[in-house]
């Protein structure tokens, strides 16, 4: 059982979702423990796989599904699960976020979608299976199928919300289908040229035959790149994201917001490094020249739009769009440190977005609104929730003990080493905007001045609220503990950043990435 740990990562949530669908018909309450248990088991299997990876010499674990062997058959005959350090790190993030959100989801699901628990947890576990599968698969077409598994379950989860959520989901379906279909087309062109769908196989064929100049490969690269950019909500294609995430039920948005875009960033890094190869991606295409400028536009626009919002969840959705810009930029400035920053930022952004969305869910539950005007006096009412929320916020800004600081540090170092000053400047600019965003929130919570400038209080410490409105009143423990756990994960990932970065370095050392002068 131990040597198959990588397969168990997918088997636990997959069969958990089937169990939820079947057993949930008779007993609705059984779904919640099944979800938590199966994700906890999957997380254990993931940690086991990570240990195997670190112990192995090549730092990869391959698992051939269906009993075929590499000695007897050429690569690509069957389906392969292929994990390297990058894949398993992101898988662990997916499973960890899934576990925390599944614990958190108990009350929100009962209250927001009463009677639909079996459906919710079936889709929830399938979503985690799809996202973890994206990180582990070694087959380009399987990746498409898993992207669609994750997307379809995501549509269902979001549409469980209000009528508005259904309308927003429709847009998401349209753009998501366009994105995935572009990816599929790109895979078709790759198959025409290389004759295999196995990622390692494709890379080997490209290297062996010198396909870098082929027009077919260029078309494949552009199609796959476009598809992934649409799916990750990179700026001009972000239209589906804010509406979908801020109208979705609380538990759904806390699961999807930290994971979906980050996993697509992982797919981009996987395609660039492992499938097309560094030489092809960065030297045969124009993307290194063009994309950093697109990133500049993306980050500025997303940050400004986030600044214009008056509602926490909507503001956070635009922050996600800006963060996607960071990570895409980190990849395309083409540099060792940029890649470290990008990969580390995928991990840390998932942690801090989770923290913020869990906090927003609690605020919505207690204050009945996430509009800025309804936040007054919340700190004295729910100090623990707001502390957790603001740890996430400080991490988005990039204050030192949190993980956001370290990932941004590597991204800025990457920008400096490749002399992409525009990228550095825009990172600084967006940091300023985030400072404004979160300190404005703190101000809203602590001061009695409303949005229109009206002063409701009478002097120091008086928020113009009655005693009852500011009385200590935290959310339920099943929601509060996941929030505090995720806030502490933000701090722990920040404090132990060197361990994670050294793992990422092991992964990146295989590739011949420029490190700048003097390194």
């Amino acid at each position: 059982m131990m040597e198959n740990a990588i397969a168990w990562i997918l088997i636990f949530p997959l069969f958990g979702s089937v169990a939820c669908a079947i057993l949930g018909m008779t007993n609705r309450k059984i779904c919640y423990p099944i979800a938590v248990l199966s994700l906890a088991c999957a997380l254990w299997a993931g940690i086991e796989t990570l240990n195997q990876l670190i112990a192995s010499e090549e730092h990869t674990v391959a698992y051939l599904l269906g009993g075929w062997t590499l000695d007897a058959y050429p690569r690509g005959v069957g389906i392969e699960l292929h994990a390297d350090i990058l894949g398993i790190l992101i898988t662990l993030v997916v499973l960890g976020v899934g576990l925390i959100v599944s614990v958190y989801s108990k009350l929100p699901v009962q209250e927001e979608t009463p009677g639909k628990e079996p459906l919710f947890y079936t889709l929830f576990l399938l979503q985690v299976t799809g996202l973890a599968g994206i990180c582990l698969t070694g087959d380009a077409f399987n990746l498409y199928v898993l992207i669609e598994v994750a997307a379809l379950t995501g549509y269902g989860l979001i549409a469980m919300g209000s009528n508005r959520a259904a309308a927003a989901t429709f847009n998401y379906v349209m753009l998501g289908t366009i994105g995935a279909s572009f990816y599929l087309l790109g895979v078709g062109y790759l198959y025409i040229k290389t004759g295999t769908l196995n990622m390692v196989g494709i890379h080997d064929v490209i290297e062996a035959n010198g396909l870098a100049d082929s027009a077919t490969m260029q078309v494949a690269f552009v199609l796959i790149g476009m598809g992934i950019l649409i799916k990750m909500a990179f700026f001009p294609f972000h239209a589906w994201l804010p509406n979908a995430y801020c109208n979705a039920p609380t538990a759904t948005s806390s699961l999807l917001a930290p994971l979906v875009t980050k996993v697509m960033i992982y797919v981009m890094i996987r395609m660039v490094l492992s499938v097309f190869g560094v030489e092809f991606s960065f030297e045969s295409t124009m993307w290194t020249d063009v994309v950093p400028w697109l990133v500049v536009v993306a980050i500025v626009c997303a940050a400004v739009m986030a600044l214009a919002q008056r509602e926490i969840k909507r503001m956070l959705s635009y922050l996600i769009v800006a963060e996607v810009g960071y990570m895409v930029g980190g990849v395309w400035i083409y540099n060792y440190y940029g890649f470290i920053g990008s990969i580390f930022h995928v991990i840390s952004d998932a942690c801090m977005t989770l923290c913020l969305f869990l906090g927003a869910g609690l605020i919505l539950r207690k204050a009945k609104t996430t509009h800025f005007d309804g936040l007054r006096g919340l700190f004295s009412k729910m100090p623990l929730t707001m502390t957790g929320f603001f740890i996430g916020g400080f991490s988005i800004i990039g204050l030192p003990p949190t993980c956001g600081f370290f990932s941004k540090w590597y991204l800025i170092t990457g920008g400096m080493v490749s002399e992409r000053w525009e990228y550095m400047v825009v990172l600084m600019f967006s940091t300023m905007v985030m400072v404004v965003l979160f300190f404005r929130l703190i101000e809203r919570i602590h001061l009695a001045v409303t949005e229109s400038g009206q002063n409701l209080g009478h002097g120091h410490g008086d928020l113009g609220l009655t005693e009852e409105q500011t009385r200590f009143d935290e959310g339920p423990l099943s929601m509060l503990i996941p929030l505090l756990v995720s806030a502490s994960v933000v701090l722990i990932v920040g404090i132990y950043n060197q361990d994670i970065v050294s793992l990422i370095e092991i992964f990146l050392d295989e590739f011949n990435l420029p490190r700048g002068e003097g390194h």
Binding site: N163, A167, F170, T177, G188, I192, L197, H371, S452
Partner: protein
């Protein structure tokens, strides 16, 4: 001349499949992005996905090829019956058998078709989900026209956050930019709004006295602008002008649903426009 002929030859005779796939893909994409009706968008999505299936099937096509089934006469070790004869042959039959070049030529590559089976399943799932969503949207909003849904969502938002609504009325900039979106989305609505621009100043005059003083004073300032723009009668000016009365109609919070007010506006416009 020769090159031109070669290109035409390649496009229309040798690679006609690919040309058709690109055309279908673009038709589907156009429908998905620009159509106003959700059902039409879904039809576009189906065309889009079918185009990709055509592409993959074209990749796997081979003239005069047969299905790749391993027939007994293809077996280089004789027939399947002799499997039990000895250990060696059994092992060999389990492992991959290197086929002769002549045999491989006859086979069509099955992989693209198999991939498309999966893609069709995914497409059906997506389509089913999107149809269910359409039904849900129709139950929620009573329409599957995108601009009407957007208008209704906006009205809901105004009701939920009255403070935001008042603000958007005060600052005309945000109001125009918000309402302009649904109005410019489709040609039908833009022509409708052009008609409304002419009729609205008069309907405004009727509704204004019925509302409270504060609101009516605002509406006067708002309605004065459409008059000037209507006199200019330039279509470019008419669009932003119409959006102001529209927001006014919403924010004055008439007891009757605003949708009825909206319907009456164009019906009034029709008899009046010929006079002008």
């Amino acid at each position: 001349m020769f090159e031109e002929g070669a290109i035409i030859n390649e496009l229309f005779i040798e690679r006609l499949n690919y040309l058709i796939y690109v055309v279908l893909l673009l038709i589907g994409l156009h429908a998905m992005i620009s159509k106003n009706n959700l059902m039409k968008k879904l039809i576009g999505m189906s065309i889009f996905q079918t185009a990709i299936i055509l592409f993959y099937v074209s990749v796997g096509v081979k003239e005069g090829a047969s299905i790749p089934i391993y027939l007994p006469e293809h077996d280089p070790h004789g027939s399947h019956v002799s499997l039990g004869a000895g250990n060696e042959t059994e092992e060999a039959s389990h492992g991959p058998v290197v086929l002769e070049a002549g045999l491989i030529k006859k086979y069509a590559n099955p992989l693209p078709h198999v991939l498309m089976l999966t893609a069709i399943v995914v497409g059906v799932a997506t389509l089913g989900l999107a149809l269910a969503l359409c039904q849900r949207i129709y139950q929620g909003y009573g329409t599957i026209e995108e601009d009407e849904i957007l208008a209704k969502i906006e009205r809901e938002e105004m009701r939920a956050h009255p403070s935001v609504a008042v603000k958007s009325m005060e600052s005309s900039k945000t109001a125009t930019s918000k309402v302009k979106k649904p109005a410019t989305k489709s040609k039908e609505s833009s022509t409708l709004s052009a008609k409304r621009a002419k009729s609205n100043p008069k309907t405004k005059a009727k509704t204004a006295p019925s509302t409270s003083q504060l609101k009516s004073s605002r509406s006067k300032s708002a309605s004065s602008q459409p008059k000037t723009s209507a006199s200019k009668s330039s279509s470019a000016m008419a669009k932003p002008a119409t959006s102001k009365p529209k927001t006014k109609a919403k924010t004055t919070a008439r007891p009757k649903s605003a949708s009825t007010a909206k319907k009456t506006a164009p019906s009034k416009a029709k008899p009046r426009t010929p006079k002008k």
